[in-house]
């Protein structure tokens, strides 16, 4: 198939940026979207033009490095699929495809389609962990974790940190990302000691960088791991509780 691509080109964070139009010819159904871009880049290099900068790494939908707005949709048209796992059979001959970077105030563009997502690391740094220095913890099986709790924690922990939730959100909010990490840790018995402080710290750090949630729900539609917004409700509840709980009575932070 042949496609017309409208691709965002931006030579560095301060450049205003603009769309360029490229023809992608002889695209095969079984190519991934990024392999299609690889092909366009090979042709650009052949004709002496700088290739399009975009991020990708594992190309298996797990590292969270890639992420493009494709026709205005984060990661493109296929539900539950990261850009690298989107295949060209989802497009048709003659189509015009618009490709942009994640658009969010907290994710400045570094070049072309590559953005800086270090604000996510800042949220994790502020509390997205269970304090447990390497050493001699108790035997793993001494902590009984009901299967349902372990499964729900895993549902939340599946987040790949790609940023699609933020890109899809009209407010540029990071509630889904933050709540997924909070749910992962707050659902587990090991996570209880730091539950309230963790919630408070991560939510407050999130608010320093990102917009506010007004329940559009676009984030869960865009999420390649289909993480549900139920976790946002859990986060909101825990955040409220963190402000009113007498933690000393429970011996918790």
């Amino acid at each position: 198939m042949n496609l017309t691509l409208k691709v965002w080109r931006q030579n560095g964070p301060t450049d205003p940026g603009h769309f360029e139009t490229y023809e992608a010819t002889d695209v095969k159904d079984e190519m991934s979207f990024l392999e299609m871009l690889d092909l366009v880049n090979e042709n650009l290099i052949d004709s002496g033009h700088e290739p399009i900068t975009f991020d990708s790494d594992c190309r298996e939908g797990i590292c969270g490095t890639c992420g493009l707005m494709i026709n205005g949709q984060a990661h493109g048209p296929q539900k539950g699929t990261a850009t690298c796992q989107l295949h060209m059979r989802k497009f048709h001959d003659g189509e015009t495809v618009t490709i942009e970077p994640w658009r969010a105030a907290a994710f400045p563009v570094l070049k072309d389609l590559m953005v800086d997502r270090s604000a996510f690391d800042a949220i994790i740094e502020s509390g997205g962990f269970i304090t447990s220095d390497t050493g001699g913890p108790r035997d793993a099986n001494e902590i009984l974790i009901p299967k349902v709790a372990a499964d729900s924690a895993m549902d939340a922990a599946a987040c790949i940190g790609c940023g699609a939730c933020v890109a899809a959100c009209p407010n540029g909010a990071a509630q889904l990302f933050t709540s997924a990490k909070l749910a992962h840790l707050n659902l587990l018995p090991q996570g209880q000691a730091e539950r309230w402080k963790r919630t408070e710290d991560m939510v407050e750090t999130m608010e320093m960088f990102f917009g506010s949630c007004t329940n559009y729900g676009e984030c869960q539609e865009a999420c390649p791991k289909e993480i549900p917004i139920d976790f946002i409700a859990m986060m909101n509840r825990d955040f409220l509780k963190s402000k009113v709980k007498n933690r000393k009575l429970q011996g918790q932070r």
Partner: protein
């Protein structure tokens, strides 16, 4: 020829006491002195993130580097199946000794016994540590941890988190690392790639890096440097490794004097999705755990074009079950891969371009029900369907082997230190624990063992001797000449102004390495590769086209240096494969096989680690041999029948 002597520093005494007594005999650094030492950790996968976090917890001043935009992106994240540990929770006869034995045997008696025993010992601590961090391993209804079996073993000792075990373990290590960053004990540098290892008087002094956003070339000095930079599977171009995985850190250390051991030991993973066309940028792995419930088969007839459901049982060849009745579909990776290649080469391959074998779940679905099978493998099935447009619940998967892991790597002693004092290699970047073949679910185990439990203990022994010494100044000529050389390199690549992209040359190199140094190797092919690779390299150096600027983001410039290193490494892989006149594990020399077509080792002549010394560009490298001694496990023919 230099005067390197390989001292593996293996402690004496009974094997099960060596690690404990070694820990006691090593020098310690007292807590107040630890913060006087700066340790550079390069790479933030399982080994790197675990080491950086643990060293910081101990009190060392850590500077940590990754070329990714976040430590969480390292390729450990893509490991699917699980992590082994000798917990014996299943009461099925497992023990530290059995995990040790299985790993030595699985490695086809080409690993160091003492290292492997230590790995088996600390495996149990890893699970405890990860659970304490909140890694959501699979549980049974009663709340206890679940286990499954994995290729190459007859016990269930594999812990898993759905099909995303690597992701969850890496997130655990990443979170521990970020906590140390928040406490100011780790200085984290993302989008920063190592381009040179700096030594002064033969001792590791630090590294030179390029900032991938600004293009800035900088020096970093430390008392010790840990390379946790993964394997070199992308030498084949098509592999299951991530696009950016590369050998550059290890290779530049090699060019500064670190020996590179057993480069020909590469693992070809049996269960990957076959390539569909020539534009394929990488191959996708399907977890080996699928072999627990899937049966591997091809049609008995050649060129059988019937749909799989139309081929009756009698016309199917379940070749692994037939040839290896006791292990069946769970035969180790090298054996499963080679047998798949054999049936495809015979013309019994399946799929549109006849380049795969079936992995069939029909029998498991009828025995266990759709729900159970989907719960176990649902996310893998979804991934397969996204790529191929076929649903494995309805029709068998198609799989074929692909390059996946590299057992070879920088030579290290028992302390994980290379032959350059102060330079360590951890995880896949070193060579030590898997011999000639790695068992499934053992890579995660080794990465975390090295990072959480081994290096943080052994590094003190080295640093204790440096108390009172400041790291080398970055103004020292050792650093400034290296920075100048790296800057020259950048300008030189752009100045070539040729006609073909770095990607093109990587793909062409990969074809040579795969064809002659892949699943089966022979003398003629390897000799051919050793003339073809230098010829292609010369073309590459004179005709590659890198556009853009050295300052700022330039992905072609990042790529070209990595490809240059793969060229030199690819040559060394072939040279090592040619030298090793035997078959063992992942290294299969066609000339050396048993009558049944199995790998035939030559213990009398090749029971050694082959460690190569760089002698300069274009010069032949020098081989150093570390003899392997087996005191506990008697080398036998590795049989899985």
């Amino acid at each position: 020829m230099s005067t390197i002597t390989l001292d593996s520093k293996i402690p004496s005494g009974p094997i099960e006491e060596r690690w404990e007594s070694h820990k006691f005999n090593m020098k310690l650094v007292n807590p107040a002195n630890k913060r006087k030492f700066t340790v550079l950790v390069v790479g933030t996968g399982l080994a790197g993130a675990a080491a950086a976090a643990t060293l910081a917890e101990l009190g060392y001043h850590v500077k940590c580097f990754t070329f990714h935009d976040s430590p969480r992106r390292a390729h450990s994240i893509a490991a699917q199946g699980g992590i082994n540990a000798a917990k014996n929770y299943k009461n099925d006869g497992d023990s530290v000794h059995r995990l040790f034995y299985d790993t030595v045997k699985g490695g086809d008696f080409r690993a160091r016994e003492s290292n492997v025993h230590r790995l088996a010992e600390v495996s149990v601590n890893i699970i405890d540590q990860c659970v304490a961090q909140g890694v959501p391993f699979a549980r049974e209804y009663g709340g206890l941890l679940d286990n499954r079996s994995f290729g190459g073993s007859q016990v269930s000792r594999t812990f898993y988190a759905r099909g995303q075990t690597g992701q969850q373990l890496l997130l655990g290590a990443y979170q521990a690392l970020m906590q140390q960053v928040s406490l100011g004990r780790v200085e984290l540098h993302t989008k920063t790639e190592l381009l040179d290892v700096v030594t002064k008087d033969g001792v590791a002094a630090g590294i030179v890096t390029r900032d991938l956003v600004t293009g800035d070339i900088r020096s970093w000095a430390g008392h010790a440097t840990l390379l946790c930079t993964g394997g070199y599977g992308n030498a084949f171009y098509l592999s299951t490794n991530a696009m950016n995985s590369n050998v550059t850190a290890a290779w530049r250390a090699h060019k500064k004097g670190a020996l590179f051991a057993n480069p020909c030991y590469t693992q070809i993973h049996p269960t990957c999705i076959p390539a569909s066309d020539e534009f394929q940028s990488k191959l996708t792995l399907m977890s080996e755990s699928l072999r627990n419930d899937g049966r591997i088969w091809v049609p008995k007839k050649f060129d059988d074009n019937r749909a799989p459901e139309d081929i009756p049982e009698d016309d199917r060849d379940y070749f692994l079950e037939r040839k290896y009745p006791s292990f069946g579909n769970l035969a180790p990776r090298d054996i499963a891969s080679r047998n798949a290649k054999q049936v495809v080469d015979e013309g019994r391959g399946v799929g549109p371009i006849k380049n795969g074998v079936y992995l069939d779940f029909a029998e498991s679905i009828s025995r266990l029900g759709e729900n159970v099978v989907f719960e176990r493998y649902g996310n893998l099935f979804d991934m397969y369907e996204r790529i191929t447009d076929e649903n494995p619940m309805k029709m068998p998967m198609r799989i074929y082997p692909a390059s996946h892991y590299t057992m070879g790597g920088l030579w290290v002693d028992y302390n994980l230190m290379t032959n350059i004092p102060g330079l360590y290699a951890l995880g896949e970047a070193n060579f030590s624990d898997h011999g000639a073949n790695r068992l499934g679910a053992s890579a995660l185990m080794q990465g975390l063992a090295d990072g959480y439990f081994v290096a943080p203990n052994t590094i003190g022994d080295y640093l204790a001797g440096l108390l009172g010494q400041a790291p080398l100044s970055t103004e020292d000529p050792a650093f400034t000449t290296s920075v100048a050389a790296v800057q020259d390199d950048m300008r030189r690549w752009i100045a070539v102004g040729g006609t073909k992209s770095p990607e093109y040359y990587h793909r062409e190199l990969g074809k040579i390495v795969w064809d002659y140094c892949g699943m089966a190797r022979d003398k003629n092919g390897l000799e051919k590769a050793l003339t073809e690779i230098p010829a292609l390299r010369e073309e590459f150096e004179n005709n590659v086209r890198v556009l853009g600027d050295p300052d700022g983001v330039n992905q072609s410039l990042e790529k070209v240096g990595r490809v240059a290193d793969f060229f030199e490494l690819g040559e060394l892989m072939c040279r090592d494969a040619l030298m090793r006149e035997e078959s063992c594990g992942g290294h299969f020399r066609v000339e050396h096989q048993t009558e049944e077509g199995e790998a035939k080792r030559d213990d009398e002549n090749f029971s050694f680690v082959g460690a190569w010394e760089w002698e300069g560009k274009g010069a032949n490298p020098t081989l150093h041999k570390e003899p392997l001694v087996f005191e506990t496990v008697k080398p036998v023919e590795r049989s899985y029948k």
